[in-house]
């Protein structure tokens, strides 16, 4: 085991080229967190049930715990660390703060990532659509109310209908 050869992976993370060595069975969330020290992506279950490890893989929302790191070869990954641009928070991040939509904050990076994919796909979702889209992002603190409001509000900002 300890002598197992590691695999070299070339990928793109948050728009920047990135190379790493990993064990073939290592999951992407583990490599992001342990090998690359990008700990913004959280691990709550590593079985795809909580959504805390959500990342965007070639445009698709995925749980990074259900992706092998070696699968990242020649692909593009977006993580929570890449969502704020030039030090300016994304409207989703800003609205989560304004609505006090996080308590402990462990689910928040996953919520930001999942909501971003939703609002890019569907700029004007209904409350029900937001709730179903985020069903895979478990939050134990908030009862979801303020998260849902924040995402709906962020959508309005992104559509230019509300102030950021």
């Amino acid at each position: 085991m300890s002598t197992q050869k590691k695999t070299h992976v070339s990928t793109t993370i948050n728009g920047e080229p990135c190379e790493f060595l990993c064990e073939p069975q290592q999951i992407l969330s583990d490599v992001l967190r342990t090998n690359l020290n990008m700990t913004g992506t959280k691990e709550g279950c590593t079985t795809g049930d909580c959504g805390a490890c959500s990342v965007i893989l070639d445009g698709a929302l995925v749980c990074s715990c259900l992706v092998l790191a070696v699968e990242a070869e020649n692909r593009s990954i977006e993580t929570i660390e890449g969502i704020a641009e030039d030090g300016k928070l994304h409207p989703i991040q800003q609205k989560l703060l304004e609505h006090a939509a996080l308590q402990c904050g462990i689910c928040t990076p996953g919520v930001v990532i999942a909501s971003k994919v939703l609002l890019e796909k569907n700029p004007d979702p209904s409350e029900e659509q937001v709730r179903y889209w985020l069903a895979g992002n478990l939050c134990r603190c908030t009862g979801y109310d303020k998260i849902i409001r924040a995402v709906l509000d962020a959508g309005a900002v992104m559509r230019g209908e509300a102030r950021s």
């Binding site: 279950c45 079985t47 709730r131």
Partner: protein
């Protein structure tokens, strides 16, 4: 420090506003560091070896094969820990014997539940450590186990502890048993109370074992300095608690341990104890390398938390006019493998909402071969309040009375004496009930197959010990240091409290949660105590700072201290005849400005007596109870038993809501946890004593699409003992949801299911039988 009785402040400038929390940007960008987010050079990964049996004697533990793997650098088991003897553990939320907690860290002689920790290894990678753990050979002598509280009380039941004699019995029993506690509290004449009643309702309700369900698994990193000092980084509700518990469990001198609290990804009571922290410390000492231990989700479910199940028989008598004449509760609470259940609060607070002359409450704690239970939000109260509130609703039904009117008629108010202690001071139950009654939700029409449930609840709230340090930087910004992990926005509250006292914009106040070396002792974040007690320390420190600032200004102006007042972030020399006369003719008076801002005073600090810093410590005895009322509308699909929560409203007395958005958040989060417990959450054990649903797939906490918006109404009846009127708000929100949901669902379905959770199969069977 003594607590002055001052008039409660009611005019606020910053308290009651909703600024963005200071730690917010780090948390929405992924910069915030949680328990598992620390990686150190040369770090090893620890892995716990767990029992495959629910009850067994440990005959031997052999690490030989594990140590043969290159990269396996340290191992440990209970032999590496001191014998706990009969020592009482300091610092725990509930008084606890060390022998009831040390075996959770590493089992000694026997394992008493499946997945109990028996050994640990540390290796150079997580996968290697997992592999090495499989090679640790543990020999067991398997013993019969018991999983049911009633079976556990039988004479022929397998005995978990041969030194467990029931407490609370008079005379004390002479033979050991699995019944650890049996006590009764009485008030008035119960028989006379029931004799007076026109209506008597009697039911037995069961609430299942559940889990706190925090999303962040327990994680710790320990490192040593090669000279016996140990530093522990971990996600916890109380790093001072981690320090004392680790010292007690491992025998490492307390003074040599420093604990740094990471950000915490939820706890709800479940992180008011230790699991991997002492293990990481011992492995770090043995290997000389940093050691990280992160639990898997499966380990979290199998071996941490869970929450006591309870069976509560309730009997309530009332007159035709709605006067409650007698309340009896008898609670049988499951504690898992060691005594640690919240049977005391469960027994004491079951009917605390009601004024009733004749009450009796009996509490029994029973041990079974399941994971040792631990605290969950208002520990013990939801289980017994569940039964009492459902019975109150049934009394209302039998009397043909509105359930809120029945409660208003019997609700406790100032001066009433509860079963458990001193008379209530000003409390907000009646106000909350009135708000519920007036809420549009309560009058909204219901359709077919829909029901509405109402419930009220009480929680005691804790005070305990806290400290705060405030440093003033040269630009007049404030740095507020406390020792309570921020589990739901408490930094924002600390900043608001300091800003209020100093009269400066909240954005110039920078709160931090600092390590055990850097601030005075703080009890754990729990018991809804942080805003009240740690916030109280912040208020005191800020007031001390104001006094010091006025002193400095007085010196600069060469006036009396009493002639300087602090207002809106500034020292102001009073303008008055006496003052003018006093100052006239002095050089200082001629040149001194009449106003000095905090920033100006801060800039001059070096020349006026040195750095500006205030430290306050206190033992808060001013906690006052919280009350909450919930309204729930539910629909039931009569063909599948599926429940839909249609509308939900929470009303709660917050005393004073320091940051109202985070108070609402506590109300909403607690409501949804209670909804989950009522409908779907439960521990399912197989006959071998293994948890059958140790993951978020089958331990079903509510997801976003299960819920409507959760409306909130904050009532503010100030706590007369707190300078700002603050009560705790975090725990009472989980107390009313179960009875509100159960009443709504039973009404919608036209059944009376008393055995929670109200799963679709259970409901459908009841509907079909009706």
């Amino acid at each position: 420090m003594n607590q002055q009785v001052k008039p409660v402040k009611t005019d606020f400038k910053y308290v009651g506003t909703r600024p963005i929390r200071p730690d917010g940007p780090d948390k929405v960008t992924g910069r915030a560091k949680y328990g598992a987010d620390l990686n150190l050079p040369g770090m090893l990964f620890g892995h716990i070896v767990r029992s495959p049996h629910a009850h067994a004697r440990i005959k031997s533990i052999d690490f030989t094969e594990a140590l043969k793997l290159p990269g396996v650098l340290a191992t440990m088991c209970a032999d590496d820990l001191p014998d706990p003897g009969d020592r009482i553990l300091p610092g725990a939320e509930i008084e606890m014997k060390l022998k009831d907690i040390s075996p959770i860290i590493m089992a000694r002689d026997k394992v008493l539940f499946h997945a109990q920790a028996v050994a640990a290894v540390a290796a150079t990678s997580a996968s290697l450590a997992a592999e090495a753990a499989k090679l640790v050979r543990v020999e067991y002598e398997v013993l019969p186990h018991v999983l049911d509280v009633h079976a556990a009380m039988r004479d022929d039941a397998p005995l978990l502890h041969n030194d467990m004699f029931t407490q609370g019995m008079n005379p004390p029993p002479t033979t050991p048993s699995n019944l650890s506690v049996d006590f009764t509290m009485d008030m008035g004449d119960l028989a006379a109370g029931f004799a007076e009643a026109d209506v008597v309702v009697e039911r037995t309700y069961r609430v299942p074992m559940c889990h706190q369900g925090y999303i962040e698994p327990h994680a710790a990193v320990a490192r040593t300095d090669g000279n016996g000092r140990v530093e522990i980084w971990c996600c916890t509700q109380g790093h001072f608690m981690v320090r004392s518990m680790t010292a007690e469990i491992t025998g490492i001198e307390l003074g040599k341990i420093k604990v740094i609290a990471s950000e915490i990804g939820g706890g709800f009571g479940g992180k008011t104890t230790v699991y991997g922290e002492p293990v990481a410390a011992v492995l770090a000492l043995k290997s000389g390398r940093p050691v990280k231990i992160v639990m898997s989700r499966e380990e979290v479910f199998r071996a941490t938390g869970p929450v006591s199940s309870a069976e509560t028989r309730v009997r309530i008598g009332a007159k035709n006019d709605g006067t409650i004449t007698a309340i009896e509760t008898d609670i049988l609470m499951e504690s898992g493998a060691y005594s640690s259940s919240p049977i005391m609060p469960s027994t004491m607070f079951a009917a605390a909402c009601y004024r009733c002359a004749n009450m009796r409450s009996r509490g029994r704690e029973v041990l079974t071969n399941k994971a040792k239970v631990w605290a969950y939000r208002a520990p013990g109260a939801p289980q017994s309040i569940m039964a009492v509130e459902c019975a109150i609703n049934e009394v209302a039904e039998r009397l043909g009375m509105d359930p809120i009117d029945l409660r208003l008629k019997n609700a406790v108010e100032e001066g009433d004496v509860p079963l458990f202690g001193l008379p209530f001071l000003a409390i907000g139950l009646k106000k909350a009930l009135q708000e519920a009654k007036n809420h549009p939700h309560y009058r909204a029409p219901l359709q077919a197959n829909q029901g509405r449930g109402v419930a009220a609840a009480f929680w005691i709230n804790a005070g305990m010990q806290s400290s705060a340090t405030i440093n003033v930087a040269a630009d007049g910004s404030l740095h507020v240091l406390t020792g309570n992990p921020d589990i739901g926005g408490s930094r924002a509250s600390m900043a608001l409290l300091a800003a209020e006292v100093l009269g400066i914009p909240v954005e110039t106040v920078h709160p931090s949660v600092v390590d055990t070396d850097s601030v005075g002792y703080c009890d754990t974040t729990g018991g809804s105590r942080t805003t009240l007690a740690t916030g109280g320390a912040v208020i005191q420190a800020a007031e001390m700072l104001v006094a010091e600032l006025c002193k400095r200004a007085a010196a600069i102006w060469n006036v009396n201290f009493d002639d300087v007042e602090w207002s809106d972030g500034k020292a102001i020399a009073r303008i008055g005849a006496d003052l003018e006369n006093l100052m006239e003719g002095t050089a200082a008076a001629a040149s001194a400005p009449k106003v000095l801002t905090l920033a100006e005073l801060a800039a001059m600090a070096g020349a006026t007596g040195g750095p500006l810093c205030a430290v306050a410590t206190l033992h808060a005895h001013n906690a006052q109870p919280a009350f909450a009322v919930n309204i729930c509308d539910a629909a039931v699909d009569r063909e599948t038993g599926k429940v839909d929560i249609l509308r939900y409203t929470c009303i709660q007395d917050a005393g004073k809501a320091v940051h109202p958005a985070y108070v609402e958040g506590q109300m909403q989060g607690g409501a949804v946890q209670g909804i989950g417990w009522a409908l779907n959450e439960e521990y399912i054990y197989n006959e071998k004593g293994e948890l059958d649903n140790a993951g978020f797939l089958d331990y079903r906490i509510p997801v976003a699409s299960d819920l409507p918006m959760i409306d909130t109404v904050i009532v503010e009846v100030p706590n007369p003992l707190h300078p700002f009127g603050i009560r705790g708000v975090g725990e009472v929100p989980i107390c009313p949801p179960m009875p509100a949901v159960v009443t709504a669902v039973n009404q919608a379905a036209g059944v009376r299911v008393c055995d929670l959770p109200l799963t679709p199969p259970k409901l459908l069977a009841a509907i079909d039988a009706a």
